[in-house]
């Protein structure tokens, strides 16, 4: 398949691995931001093939993992009301809320539907004018344009039975938080390729200069990830900071201006509460005042619902790169994909799930 096969080519990958071995002279710690990259690394066993000097730690870029528990509890509360339909990406359905998952709620009769795009949720709202339809609008800069577009479209059509329960995050503030932390181990980043497709990487250039770290936007296939790692190591070894784009086939410096514009029209920046990490200043998005009639939290009056995490779950430390999943005491015992304590054990992009699913050494 074009744009896939050449980036899974084992000869190319081995060639890059050899270059990494030739380049590295001392230990380096690199964080891959995005959960999609984490899964690819573990699925392809890239961590097993890298020289001992290169340590990868897994970043917080899993949209499902960082969605706060109270968002799930609020969604569960709203969908238990009569005449309400929840449309969600499939991944959210298995994430445990305080008492149950959306899948369990569905089995008790709640109307929970899996969609592949917020525009499908709009369609459900149009087709069910006597129901309230709300979409679980979670994710990073990648999902924000679609979620913004859906609200804008609903406003244009005056679709009053549509709303979004918003939990949107932005990556750069989280990188700043990680780099500013006293215990920070991260010396270079693989930036999330698809996030950069939307945002571009000017903000990353500022972070690179300010904290003197190399940042390399890259993709998700083995050759992409290995090229990204090689570039970060070359920059680290030669003391160069800033951004080098290794995902040129989709990422440009300015990103996608149309997508950025619609996000800016519909959302405003606010402090974001990240599950497992806490509040990161100016890292979240909320609907602007003129779109507040599409805000499910306000419409269904669920802002008061607050939640507490399981004390056993160490997902915050996993998400900040402080520990690897298998060093959590609950890993594979109290916490498995069928009985998860925290979101990283559930999501297709969660580090704990990646280790549980694929990792030869973890079991």
């Amino acid at each position: 398949m074009k744009f896939i096969d050449e980036y899974r080519n084992s000869d190319r990958a081995r060639g890059i691995l050899e270059k990494i071995e030739d380049t590295v002279t001392k230990p380096w710690t690199i964080m891959e931001i995005c959960g999609g990259q984490t899964h690819s690394i573990i699925r392809n066993g890239i961590d097993q093939l890298l020289p001992d000097e290169v340590r990868l730690i897994h970043g917080p870029g899993c949209p499902v993992c960082v969605t706060p528990l109270e968002i799930l509890d609020r969604a569960l509360s709203i969908v238990s009301k009569p005449g309400v339909i929840l449309a969600s990406f499939g991944d959210m359905l298995r994430v445990p809320g305080s008492r149950e998952t959306l899948l369990a709620a569905r089995s008790r009769g709640a109307d929970v539907r899996v969609v592949f795009s917020p525009l499908e949720a709009l369609k459900i709202a149009r087709e069910n004018p006597h129901h309230e339809v709300f979409f679980l609008a979670v994710g990073f800069e990648t999902t924000a344009p679609g979620n913004a577009m859906a609200v804008k479209q609903a406003a244009r059509e005056n679709l009053q039975n549509f709303s979004e329960l918003v939990s949107q995050f932005m990556v750069p503030p989280a990188m700043r938080t990680i780099l500013s932390s006293e215990n920070n181990l991260v010396q270079g980043f693989l930036a999330a390729g698809h996030v950069c497709t939307v945002t571009g990487y000017e903000e990353y250039e500022r972070i690179g200069e300010e904290f003197h770290v190399p940042i390399v936007p890259t993709g998700f296939e083995p050759v992409d990830i290995l090229s990204g790692i090689l570039r970060v190591i070359q920059m680290l070894e030669s003391g160069v900071c800033g951004v080098h784009n290794e995902y040129g086939r989709v990422v440009s410096r300015e990103g996608n201006p149309v997508a950025r514009k619609v996000v800016d029209e519909v959302f405003h920046v606010t402090d974001g509460l990240w599950r497992g990490i806490g509040v990161i200043p100016r890292s979240g998005l909320l609907l602007r005042k003129e779109f507040s009639s599409f805000d499910a939290e306000k419409k269904f009056n669920v802002v008061g619902i607050q939640s507490d995490e399981s004390p056993l779950c160490k997902s915050g430390e996993v998400l900040r790169g402080m520990i690897t999943p298998e060093s959590c005491e609950a890993f594979g015992k109290e916490c498995t994909p069928s009985m998860p304590l925290g979101a990283p054990m559930v999501s297709a992009e969660g580090a704990c799930a990646a280790y549980y699913k694929y990792h030869w050494k973890a079991l």
Binding site: M1, A13, N44, L103, A348, W360
Partner: protein, 349 residues
């Protein structure tokens, strides 16, 4: 009067039935282990093969049943009727049996169009004819509108097992080659693409077909086959994990050897689904001593079904890591092929 439960009641993770309990993965297995086996357990059932093998006098029979609730009932490459016949026929065939007779039970929803029923029944008759079986008994029930989704079909099947054939998932031996009879994931992806709401353009068609002819040819020439399964719900991942677990052996697969159509791979990439977890309805996985693997592969590749040419040896049985399936990746590292947890998308077969 005191009431005593006769069966041990184990602890459950879920208090109600979830969609994943029917998806052929971990939760399906839990349901079988925790609810059905404690009450029904017997020597034929406990093997958890796709069919029960029974002796009456000197004759050995295979007996199996399956229920079909697929949505949509018509999809590229087949209908719920084709599936209902081929699914049961194949469950007999992979036990080394020659399928003979089927039953057919219908649950119909009030208001279901008669013309659709006729279409489904005709497709069942055609599929039965192709597989060389007769539908010899049946039953029909009608439920009120809203109590089922159009039409549900149950079929049971009976077949005879020839002398000298001993096929069971417990027979896996180290050194056996693992062979698949063609491309993986075609059925599941054809159905997902046809489902309401999944609006990508696709020419993927279901692989639903009877495996009788292929399997009988294999067994005529290579009676030493150890195990066979048709990788339906849960796909190749579920099937191989079941084989590994039942036999207590390990399985090592080569990622480079998996036959997957580019359009199926593309659809899977788009949906974030592993083609190894996707259902097939006309493929067989064979475990056979290494020295006979070439012969089995040749027989598969000489057939005329669409992906016969893609039949491939994908791995082998080992003594290491008992009960586990490991993939050697394209890069030469290793990863676990896990039993799918449950639902990919609801009701794929």
């Amino acid at each position: 009067m005191s009431f005593e439960l006769q069966c041990p009641v184990p602890r459950f993770n879920h208090e109600t039935i979830q969609m994943a309990h029917g998806a052929g993965g971990v939760l399906s297995r839990e349901l079988t282990r925790n609810v059905f086996l404690p009450c029904f357990g017997n020597s034929a059932l406990d093997l958890l093969d796709d069919q029960a093998k029974l002796s009456i006098g000197a004759e050995r029979f295979a007996f199996t049943t399956d229920t079909f609730v697929i949505s949509p009932i018509f999809f590229p490459g087949g209908t719920i009727g084709d599936l209902a016949v081929n699914g049961t026929v194949n469950d007999l065939a992979v036990g080394g049996a020659m399928p003979l007779y089927l039953s057919a039970g219908f649950v119909l929803e009030e208001g279901f169009p008669l013309v659709d029923l006729q279409k489904v029944v005709r497709s069942m008759a055609d599929a039965a004819c192709k597989a060389g079986v007769q539908i010899v008994t049946g039953d029909t029930k009608v439920v009120e509108r809203g109590q089922c989704d159009g039409i549900f079909i149950n079929t049971s099947g009976l077949g005879v097992i020839k002398n000298g054939i001993d096929i069971s998932c417990i027979n896996l031996k180290p050194g056996d080659s693992i062979i698949v009879s063609g491309t993986l994931g075609d059925h599941g992806m054809a159905v997902m693409a046809a489902r309401e709401g999944l609006s990508f353009q696709s020419e993927i068609i279901s692989d639903t077909m009877s495996l009788c002819e292929l399997i009988s040819e294999i067994l005529d020439e290579v009676p030493e086959v150890h195990a066979m399964r048709d990788p339906t719900r849960g796909g190749l991942a579920a099937t191989l994990n079941e084989l590994a677990e039942a036999s207590g052996k390990g399985i090592v697969l080569e990622e480079s050897a998996f036959p997957v159509r580019p359009d199926v791979q593309g659809a899977c990439e788009l949906l974030g689904i592993d083609p190894l977890n996707v259902a097939n309805e006309g493929k067989v996985v064979v475990a056979v001593p290494r020295q006979s693997a070439g012969k089995v592969l040749r027989i598969m590749q000489q057939q005329t079904y669409p992906s016969a040419g893609n039949a491939a040896i994908i791995g082998e049985v080992v003594d290491d890591h008992p009960g586990m399936v490991i993939i050697r990746t394209l890069l030469g590292s290793r990863r676990i092929l896990e039993m799918p947890l449950g639902e990919q998308l609801p009701r794929i077969c």
